[in-house]
């Protein structure tokens, strides 16, 4: 279905990402081979200049990644009107085995390039550029991620086949089977999920507040472990939230007990509630987990101050966004229950 306008848009953005990351990859290879901090050789000066280019390209790539994530969601929603049996974007994603992996790959790429940029900013704030080498090793890992993402997107689009009525004489299409998005996840026990969701959310808030309030610690394994555990908690919370939104919260938004779809939340019929919901979730979890990037780097020469400042700012941001997210997420169920809807 490559002639669909959405497919073209997605492929153009995927091509753009590949171009950007490919460009920075070239720099990465050269930096890893020839980087000599402190030297003023012509090559080193050239390399220092090139790091600016690489960072610029990754920054553009990050924006492109964010936009293409939303484009993919919107496109899937659009495809669902064309594909047989797909009632909503979930169905469109499940139409072939590449849809969901492409979606997750895009999210992974978003987080990864975000962390990379945090590391880059920290790197620049030290006179010793202590992270440059690590940064470009990481770029070597980011590139395949983006390539796989683009490949999966292309494969997804290539394998989508809408059933055009005119090609199908006298045969009625099979009624929508498993791909209707009503059963994306087998209904799990809602109370269990909800208590996990709010429990983890509250725990993260408390731990975040503790980490935020704590004075700068001497670099040690204990405090580093706390930061890393907090970051893992954030990522866990991210995945858990996606499940909870799909299984528990979305039916309240749709006011349909069996309609479980995480994507229709973005639609206009439901007030575009998905945008603030997902963006605040993304902001919370990204900021919270990126604090660990700063924590890992803080023992490097010249980074103690900048890393501490970044970590503080990131934690504060995460602490503001987390209650906001919980509020938006709880809004529909709470409203439904308070307004007298029966369970």
């Amino acid at each position: 279905m490559l002639l669909n306008p959405w497919a073209i848009v997605l492929l153009v953005t995927a091509g753009g990402s590949l171009f950007l990351v490919g460009g920075s990859l070239r720099t990465a290879v050269r930096v890893l081979r020839h980087w000599q901090p402190g030297s003023d050789s012509a090559r080193q000066i050239d390399l220092e200049n090139q790091t600016w280019l690489a960072a610029l390209l990754v920054e553009y790539g990050l924006i492109l990644q964010l936009v293409s994530l939303f484009l993919l969601l919107l496109a899937a929603d659009n495809f669902s009107r064309v594909l047989v049996g797909a009632m909503c974007a979930t169905g469109a994603f499940l139409a072939n085995p590449y849809g969901i992996p492409a979606l997750f790959m895009k999210m992974a790429g978003l987080f990864f390039s975000g962390y990379w940029l945090v590391a880059h900013r920290l790197d620049l704030s030290s006179e010793h550029l202590p992270l440059t080498r690590a940064k470009f090793v990481a770029l070597l890992l980011l590139a395949p991620l983006v390539a796989v993402d683009s490949g999966l997107t292309a494969a997804y689009l290539l394998n989508l086949s809408p059933e055009i009525i005119t090609s199908c004489c006298g045969v009625l299409f099979a009624p929508g089977g498993a791909a209707d998005g009503y059963n994306l996840l087998e209904p799990m026990a809602a109370p269990l999920l909800l208590s996990l969701f709010y429990g983890l959310g509250g725990l993260l808030f408390a731990v975040g507040l503790f980490l935020f309030r704590r004075p700068p610690q001497p670099p040690g394994r204990g405090s580093l472990l706390a930061d890393i555990a907090f970051a893992c908690g954030q990522l866990l919370f991210f995945s858990l939230s996606l499940v909870v939104i799909t299984v528990v919260i979305s039916p309240y938004v749709y006011a349909m007990p069996n309609h479980r779809c995480p994507f229709d939340l973005l639609a206009g019929e439901y007030g575009h509630i998905g945008y603030p919901l997902y963006l605040s979730l993304l902001a919370t979890c990204f900021a919270g987990s990126s604090a660990a990037v700063a924590a890992v780097c803080r023992h490097l020469p010249g980074l103690a101050g900048p890393a501490f400042r970044y970590r503080r700012a990131a934690l504060r941001f995460s602490l503001v966004m987390l209650p906001l997210f919980l509020l938006i997420a709880s809004w529909s169920p709470a409203f439904y229950l308070l307004a007298g809807g029966e369970r």
């Binding site: 009525i165 005119t166 090609s167 004489c169």
Partner: protein
């Protein structure tokens, strides 16, 4: 930002000073331009709302015609069955049903209609 404009600026009243300062900076001028653009956008969007309402009545009539006659296709490209009535054709019809084509697919595929 020249001497003249500065003196002129000092002469005007404080309320006017803001305006002249706004006009002085390219980025502020951009902002003014942006405001004009937004106004123009608002205007054409409102215009669209008006046209849409007008269209609504037309669509109502067209819809009742469709319902009465059981139509299923748009009267675009009305020269041949395969474009006028896609739903009454199948893929091979492209090669078969041209009003001027001999019914022998696929050899007739590119035959021009007779004059």
């Amino acid at each position: 930002m020249g001497a003249m404009s500065r003196k002129a600026m000092e002469r005007v009243a404080p309320a006017g000073r803001l305006a002249s300062r706004l006009a002085g900076r390219p980025s502020s001028r951009l902002l003014v331009l942006l405001a004009f653009f937004l106004l123009a956008t608002l205007f054409v969007v409102r215009e669209q709302g008006r046209c849409r309402q007008e269209q609504e009545g037309r669509i109502g009539i067209a819809r009742s015609v469709v319902a009465s006659l059981g139509l299923s296709d748009l009267a675009l490209a009305s020269e041949a069955r395969y474009t006028r009535h896609p739903l009454a054709s199948d893929p091979l019809v492209v090669g078969m049903d041209h009003p001027g084509a001999v019914d022998r697919f696929p050899s007739t595929l590119f035959w021009a209609p007779p004059r």
